[in-house]
């Protein structure tokens, strides 16, 4: 990557990918440490970004530190490529790094995500960058930072199971459905960011590199490729992912994470894939869900999709 300011005639005021080279170096050093100690939260000097904290400043800083001219970027928010935050972040990198962008999971070298892992399995060479609001999985149980650091240092993770115990005692099952705690490489307990627990199994032995950035909390952590990621559970209450009784209304998929969409003001609703690209790909391949025509009539999808 060049040290010279990026210049396409419009954004010469900024360095390539917005951050200055020294900041990128600092972030890359934190990333290297994070990869070397899977699941360990590495503090880093989080910078102000032209984006409010809580909107993905951690993820955007990691992406800025690793993106190069040869990369292709995909940004998703709640699984969708076309939501405000995803569109804004994608455009940010188009402007500041002249990044090639895509909505196709397979075509991307860097995927910045909030709240989902794409349905299509990731491949070696790809990097998944998570935006993390609360990196400390023990925080809600133990408010003292000095104490949580000791608990991580000495793997004193009994308290995490107290939280799961409370769920089962009160509701008969573990009701944590997102940000479900995982043990990485048999050592550190890690918050997987607010992805649904449906996505937890995808992190295990994933061939792609997974990087986590928490901008407000100033922490970076990582899961290297092919690393064991185990969701915490009890022997007699094993970890289970969500399931639905009906397929995706648009593409008919039965193995994806579904969002509930309200379609009118008379109680009408449908379940659709939260991964918009995956759903579109399946429709293009000729898969049809039971609600596709109805969805086209209220302009939820294009008419030609329904044809």
């Amino acid at each position: 990557m060049t040290r010279r300011a990026y210049d396409d005639g419009r954004t010469a005021a900024y360095n390539y990918a917005y951050l200055d080279e020294q900041t990128k170096r600092m972030i890359r050093r934190a990333l290297l440490k994070a990869v070397a100690v899977p699941g360990y939260q590495v503090p880093f000097g989080s910078r102000e970004m032209p984006l409010a904290r809580g909107w993905g400043t951690g993820g955007i800083q990691i992406t800025a530190a690793i993106i190069g001219p040869a990369d292709t970027l995909k940004v998703i928010d709640q699984g969708a490529d076309d939501t405000t935050n995803a569109v804004s972040i994608r455009r940010f990198f188009e402007r500041t790094a002249a990044a090639r962008t895509t909505e196709a999971t397979a075509a991307a070298t860097i995927i910045q995500t909030r709240h989902r892992i794409p349905e299509q399995p990731l491949a070696a060479g790809q990097i998944l960058v998570y935006q993390v609001p609360l990196p400390e999985p023990l925080r809600r149980l133990e408010p003292r930072e000095a104490e949580t650091r000791k608990m991580h240092a000495w793997a004193e993770y009994g308290l995490m199971h107290v939280r799961l115990y409370e769920n089962i005692a009160r509701f008969g099952e573990v009701t944590t459905t997102y940000d479900y705690p995982v043990a990485v490489n048999g050592r550190y307990v890690m918050a997987p960011s607010p992805i649904p627990k449906f996505d937890n199994p995808k992190m295990d032995m994933c061939p792609a590199l997974q990087l986590f950035g928490a901008g407000r909390e100033k922490r970076i952590y990582a899961v290297p490729p092919h690393t064991r990621v185990v969701s915490l559970d009890f022997e007699d209450h094993p970890f289970r992912i969500q399931s639905w009784t009906e397929p995706c209304g648009l593409c008919g998929a039965t193995d994806t994470y579904l969002d509930e969409v309200v379609t009118d003001d008379r109680g009408g609703r449908m379940f659709v894939c939260s991964d918009s690209h995956h759903c579109e790909t399946r429709r293009a391949e000729g898969h049809h869900g039971p609600m596709l025509a109805a969805a086209a009539s209220i302009h939820l999808v294009e008419k030609e999709d329904a044809a």
Binding site: G158, L159, H161, Y165, A169, F234, E235, H237
Partner: protein, 269 residues
């Protein structure tokens, strides 16, 4: 003063479980506690009495591994045999010992309980710390211990904030004893409880300590509690031990002027 009966001569195990040597802790210029030395044998209940500010709690915190003494050493009988200086091992080992080898019943239940975790979760925490990962067994153990401290097992899913003061104190005891410690520290276990609840709690502690063969160190300013529960008594004043001996001897035949003052201050003996 000589002890008429040394517990070491009674039991099969002649080695002390805890040995304090010249334990001192200072708060700047002021003395917290100074020059405290004693041995505690398995199954023995030691009382520490003294007025408010006499260094009882400071001493307890040093013995329990919470605060490091400025002088002296606290040695604990390791499972492998031999005495281990608890402040010479790493903090990690010391914390592990604090979770498994001994337990602390705090004066204020809020210091010892997680107030927004259910009673079952509070009792089960030490088991989960230890690595138990079977929900059914953890819950069964918690229900069993709640019954043993006379809390209705039907309240296993209630939170401590919904419990009375006496129940909170008993829950604390269950939480400590579930992991089978060999030594229990109690800091004013009956503080703030009314007399009838005190009596039940004392009865419970006495039964548990005798049944489980636990060693215990009980800090109290209440001589009636000391007489009921303890085998041996240490009287503290201004951070120093002024008299120690068998409880009955100390209370019935006090030698030190301060102890004489203390015993004569009891309203009804």
């Amino acid at each position: 003063m000589t002890l008429a009966v040394n517990p070491a001569q009674l039991g099969a195990d002649p080695a002390p479980i805890l040995s304090a040597g010249d334990v001192s802790r200072f708060y700047g210029e002021r003395i917290g506690c100074a020059g405290v030395s004693f041995d505690l044998w398995p199954g023995e209940v030691l009382g520490i009495v003294g007025e408010s500010g006499s260094g009882k709690s400071t001493l307890l915190r040093c013995l329990a591994g919470i605060d490091r003494p400025d002088q002296g050493e606290v040695r604990f009988a390791g499972r492998a045999g031999g005495m281990l200086d608890i402040f010479s091992v790493s903090e990690q080992e010391r914390r592990a010992m604090m979770r498994t080898e001994w337990g602390i019943v705090h004066q204020n239940p809020r210091d010892g309980l997680r107030m927004h975790v259910s009673a079952g979760g509070n009792v089960g925490e030490r088991l989960m710390d230890r690595g138990d990962r079977h929900y059914g067994r953890i819950r069964a153990a918690a229900a069993d211990w709640l019954a043993r401290v006379e809390i209705d097992p039907g309240r296993i899913d209630d939170r401590p904030v919904q419990f009375s003061g006496g129940m909170q104190q008993r829950l604390q005891i269950a939480r400590v004893l579930v992991s089978g410690p060999r030594l229990v520290f109690m800091d004013e276990p009956t503080g703030g409880l009314d007399v009838s609840v005190q009596a039940r709690l004392l009865d419970l502690v006495r039964v548990l300590v005798r049944d489980l063969g636990l060693a215990a160190i009980i800090v109290t300013h209440d001589l009636a509690v000391a007489r009921l529960l303890t085998d041996r008594l240490m009287v503290m004043k201004a951070g120093r031990v002024v008299e120690q001996g068998l409880t009955d001897q100390v209370l019935d035949d006090p030698q030190h002027p301060y102890t004489q003052l203390l015993t004569s201050a009891i309203l009804s003996a």
